[in-house]
Symmetry: C2
Subunit: 243 residues, 2 copies
DNA sequence: GAGTGGTCTAGACCACCCC
DNA sequence: GGGTGGTCTAGACCACTCT
């Protein structure tokens, strides 16, 4: 009886999944590109097509790859987002799904506060870009955003290019800096609006707001963005499916 | 060349999945039970083991079944919930994951309000049980719950049995009424506490609270519970992963 | 050792897309 | 028609659990 000692057994498809992820990190295939066909990958990695399939299935389930029957398998992209933008769980209570308008309030370069440092794995003293925005549904100010991005990763970020971009913010980051967000963790609280916040959202000071703190991750579960969204929920809600 | 006309093609594993779901609805296997082995199911449905596997994989991904290598596949249950109770996304900011204590405030029988009627597909005039609870983390009142359950589905629900049960509320429903929740949809807003709510949660009237509205579904995506949780987020947060 | 789920393979065929 | 992903099968072997 030979038990073959399997300390830390790793299924083949898991290793393939890691290899594909590494190619994504290395930029071998860019967002929107087709990756090689299953048969090609199978021969490259010397495994059967079924094993490659299972690896791709897992990555597709994580929204990192997108399969399109008859065409191929593609690297997920924020560039051509149609319905609601990914990650945005807030939507108006009435009316069709809608892409919010964005008004840029300010862009600055600052020392990362302690929390941002910790959550984004930055060294002490690291600098970040701080972006403040006001999002509007049908012209009504609804969300006040503060976004923190490490300067080291987003070199050359400029107010002008931020102002001139169309579409989703993550699509902008993907296009200009080659950084694609694949998932995010959010912590939500209810808070009272400060005077400044209330003025921007056109409500009374002390009004209850949703406070949504988010850390967004790119390939390899690397945290690269922190943001706080203060959301007026008189006419919209944060929607979530729990399983 | 025969194209065989495939109007509304349904993969086999999808049909198997439906058959298994129907057995669950019919109560052929109860929560916590093992279902027949893959080989048995394959021979029962006259398909290969691989096809049964794919159907079970899908149900396991939805947390309806639970696979345990070497032992079998089991019907998911709320009965022996260990870590945090399923569906509860709120947890204290500091300290270990914790099962909240529950204080029953009231149980009554009422006409379903319009919203509950609509969300639970009830006929006009249907009656519901209304349960009010106060949940406490480490003894600190944190969540005020109002739960609506159709009387028709939860016949004989009594205050005494509610008071005497231990463990999770959904575990109680599963044990006494054979109804297992498999998923829920939540809509979250920030609201100001009314005087009554504030008194129960021991905060000032007007304090911001998370308002979490939930519809919970059982097998076959049938809505069977509506609830509203008002949550004090001074020391806890609603945590969510976005993908 | 017997039984269960988990992995991996090889091959046939279908559905979809595009040329 | 040729390429791609999607389905289905049959069989071998591995890993885990229990007796």
């Amino acid at each position: 009886m030979k038990t073959l000692a399997s300390p830390s057994f790793r299924p083949l498809y898991d290793q393939i999944k890691i290899l594909i992820t590494q190619s994504l990190i290395a930029g071998e295939w860019r967002p929107g590109d087709a990756i090689p066909s299953e048969i090609e990958l199978a021969s490259r990695f010397h495994v059967s097509q079924g094993t490659v399939r299972k690896a791709i299935d897992a990555l597709a389930a994580e929204n990192i790859l997108v399969r399109r029957q008859g065409k191929g398998t593609f690297v997920a992209s924020h560039a051509q987002e149609r319905p609601t933008t990914r990650f945005l769980r807030v939507s108006p209570d009435a009316g069709a799904i809608e892409f919010p308008g964005s008004e840029l309030l300010s862009v600055s370069r600052e020392r990362a506060p302690e929390r941002t440092q910790r959550l984004l794995d930055l060294r002490a003293g690291a600098t970040i870009f701080v972006i403040r925005r006001l999002l509007k549904f049908s012209g009504v100010a609804s969300i006040l955003d503060e976004i923190h991005l490490p300067c080291a990763l987003f070199k050359g970020l400029e107010e002008n290019s931020l102002r001139s971009h169309r579409g989703s913010f993550y699509g902008f980051l993907e296009g200009h800096f080659g950084i694609t967000m694949i998932r995010a963790e959010e912590r939500i609280k209810a808070v009272a609006a400060t005077a400044d916040q209330a003025a921007l959202l056109k409500v009374a000071a002390g009004s209850p707001l949703l406070c949504v703190d988010r850390v967004a991750y790119t390939y390899g579960d690397r945290p690269v963005e922190w943001r706080r969204g203060l959301c007026l929920t008189d006419n919209c809600s944060y929607i979530n499916e729990v399983t």
